[in-house]
């Protein structure tokens, strides 16, 4: 039933992409990659809704109902006369094999993908967070078939995307197998590589897109996380896909991309606690983009903003309402629960702040430049910035720069002013929080290399 784990999310995701009429805009590889990402997000949201409605989890309750819903969406699409999107954006987006650099990069990507599949699928769930929390919680969902025990589960305040998707994989194949449920992660990696390349290809030239994708996969930390059951890989995948959709919306002004971005921003909030913060940051970036936009009138700006926020915050609200009104209410003794503390930020203004800032700067510099996490992508990024001219900064680049800036500011404040300094000190969180923005860096390098301007030669249509 492994094939069902691959095909079902694609089917669920494709039905949404068809309704958004993105099949008219995008080519098949990116549609498949996007639909897998979208499908996994839809599955976990659906499981949350089933759980809230106290409908027992099973392959039938999840997959059959979603299949029927997807078929309905496809029928709606067939009979829909409204034209949301017109005009394909693609024309010969394939990497090609014309020069030696391209062939070497393609070989590198191919070897990395194959190795990730082998490494991931030969070692079952074993790493600390997976065994202690995510896969353990997934196993509980699988055996109990409900959210009944969520308040008693480890890290019960954490959003459930990863436990849900792992238990869904187990439901779909009909048994709990700690090895085969891991297939989700290499598939996500494969999907990410395609999305990365094709989105960059729509925004830059062929070589830059390939270099951007190659640089992404040159990070050892990024690649390693694609082989273990941690949440951060999925987090950076969804954040990047959301930002890429926002960039495409900014460039091509197709509402479907904004809806897509809204969906992914909502899914981000269901992966980790900070995901909700990211959903807010993403809305803020859209707000700034709309303020700066000179081509849209006020009504259009308001509609765009609400389209995005209603979708993303609406998705986030489902989980948060459930957590605050049902999960927290069922906790009788909150004083003993360290998890509850995670939802309450304790701000501490003191002279210690300066010492913390020094530690933060030192940790950031060491992490970016003296570890094996990111290869030499960060130095390359800073070298490329030297070549960047202000006139070449496109709105799409601005979106990405804004996200990095807001991410840095918020994490700096979080680490220096709150109790979360402990995570910085112990080297447990910094790399993983940088991982969330890491895929943006190769994308920006690719955009800078391509001159930050639209490449008319590649046949993209406005």
């Amino acid at each position: 039933m492994m094939i069902a784990i691959i095909l079902l999310p694609i089917f669920f995701g494709l039905s949404i992409l068809f309704v958004l009429k993105l099949d008219k805009l995008l080519n098949i590889p990116i549609l498949l990659a996007l639909s897998f990402a979208l499908g996994t997000g839809v599955i976990t949201q659906w499981m949350l809704i089933l759980g809230i409605l106290q409908i027992p989890f099973s392959s039938t309750s999840i997959n059959l109902s979603l299949s029927i819903l997807s078929l309905i969406l496809l029928v709606v699409r067939l009979y829909s006369k409204e034209k949301l999107c017109e005009g394909a954006l693609y024309k010969d987006l394939k990497p090609g094999t014309k020069n030696i650099h391209t062939i070497i990069l393609l070989l590198f990507l191919f070897a990395t993908i194959v190795c990730i599949f082998i490494i991931s699928m030969t070692i079952p769930v074993l790493t600390w967070d997976a065994v202690a929390t995510h896969a353990f919680n997934a196993k509980i969902f699988y055996y109990e078939k409900s959210l009944t025990y969520l308040p008693n589960m480890p890290h019960y305040t954490y959003p459930c995307h990863i436990p849900f998707i792992l238990s869904w994989a187990a439901f779909t194949q009909g048994e709990w197998d700690s090895q085969s449920i891991k297939i989700i992660f290499p598939l996500m990696f494969l999907s990410f590589v395609f999305i990365k390349y094709y989105f960059l290809r729509l925004l830059t030239d062929r070589n830059s897109a390939l270099i951007g994708t190659g640089l992404l996969c040159s990070s050892f930390f990024f690649v390693y996380h694609a082989t273990i059951c941690y949440r951060d890989f999925t987090m950076c995948f969804y954040i990047y896909t959301c930002l890429a959709s926002l960039c495409l919306w900014s460039k091509f002004q197709k509402t479907s991309f904004l809806v897509l971005a809204g969906l992914f921003a909502g899914f981000v909030s269901f992966i980790k606690l900070e995901g909700t913060g990211y959903a807010v940051i993403l809305a803020l970036i859209l707000f700034v983009m709309l303020i700066l936009s000179k081509t849209k009138n006020l009504k259009k700006k308001i509609i765009s903003f609400f389209t995005f926020t209603l979708i993303s915050w609406g998705i986030a609200a489902i989980y948060h309402c459930y957590k605050y009104f049902i999960v927290f209410n069922s906790i009788t003794d909150r004083s003993d629960k360290g998890d509850f503390d995670l939802n309450h930020i304790q701000i501490n203004f003191s002279l210690e702040l300066f010492q913390r800032l020094t530690v933060l700067a030192q940790k950031y510099l060491t992490n970016l430049f003296s570890t094996n996490n990111w290869s030499t992508v960060w130095p390359i990024f800073f070298i490329c910035l030297l070549k960047l001219k202000r006139k070449n900064i496109s709105p799409e680049m601005l979106i990405l720069f804004l996200f990095i800036a807001l991410h840095t500011v918020i994490y700096t404040l979080g680490y220096t002013l709150t109790q979360h300094f402990i995570w910085l000190k112990t080297d447990t969180a910094l790399s993983r929080s940088i991982l969330h923005i890491f895929p943006i860096i190769p994308a920006l390098i690719a955009m800078i290399l391509s001159g930050g301007q639209e490449h008319k030669a590649n046949g993209l249509k406005r």
Binding site: F108, Y149, F220, F221, N372, T376
Partner: protein, 236 residues
């Protein structure tokens, strides 16, 4: 243009050889030892941080930066001191262009090393685990820890609530990991109070003479080895 790119690549490869030669003299190591050490230093991994290894107490990434500066220095020397235009590969390049070329060459080498490391890891995994089922894989990686969980499954009724006793400190990193792994393997036997039901069995681990720790009202139901046993409640 294509010939020039190949010439630059050739230039960088010679520069790399020269740098490795200097390093091998400096570290008193052979070329092969040096390459193996660099490869090892770049293969460390952890889910929180992939640390950079060290060569003679020098962070491998600091060596990589020194290597990059060395290449830039070679390029700039060529640009300024080679007057014959045919051999001056960098005559029409600005400093930022040279930096970019060097940066991409260096990351190319790092990609090559990463691909080698990944391929070796994948091969090792295939050699060790191909053809094994999930249980056999766990058995191979964790040994007795996994066998004990299977033993407990055989000894206790499904969906029992299990307590854990040990003379070891279960909050220490080693024993906490063992605890979490056991809890994961044992579920639906509940070891982490998920169902909040009354404990009806105990496992006693990492304890010499574990029978002395069996609580009152419980009896030994299975002995895995001299340090690990299972006890079940006798009376309701």
């Amino acid at each position: 243009m294509r010939n020039k790119n190949i010439a630059i690549l050739f230039f960088f490869i010679i520069g790399t050889g020269l740098f490795l030669f200097i390093l091998s003299v400096f570290f008193d190591a052979s070329f092969s030892q040096l390459i193996l050490s660099i490869n090892r230093a770049l293969s460390l991994r952890n889910h929180n941080l992939c640390p950079a290894g060290k060569l003679n107490d020098i962070n491998v990434f600091h060596l990589i930066y020194q290597f990059s500066i060395f290449l830039v220095f070679l390029c700039l020397s060529t640009k300024h001191f080679v007057h014959h235009s045919k051999y001056n590969l960098f005559a029409d390049m600005e400093l930022t262009d040279i930096l970019k070329q060097v940066a991409f060459f260096v990351i190319g080498i790092l990609m090559l090393i990463q691909t080698m490391n990944l391929s070796l890891t994948a091969k090792k995994h295939l050699d060790q685990y191909a053809g094994l089922n999930t249980g056999q894989k766990y058995q191979k990686v964790l040994g007795d820890k996994y066998s004990f969980s299977q033993f407990v499954h055989q000894q206790l009724p499904a969906e029992s609530t299990v307590g854990i006793l040990s003379e070891k400190n279960l909050s220490s990193a080693q024993w906490m990991t063992a605890h979490r792994q056991l809890a994961y393997f044992l579920y639906p036997l509940d070891m982490r109070e998920v169902r909040k039901e009354e404990i009806n069995a105990y496992i006693i681990i990492g304890t010499t003479d574990p029978e002395r720790m069996i609580p009152e009202g419980y009896q030994l139901t299975g002995t895995f080895n001299k340090d690990n046993i299972v006890a079940i409640r006798t009376a309701p």
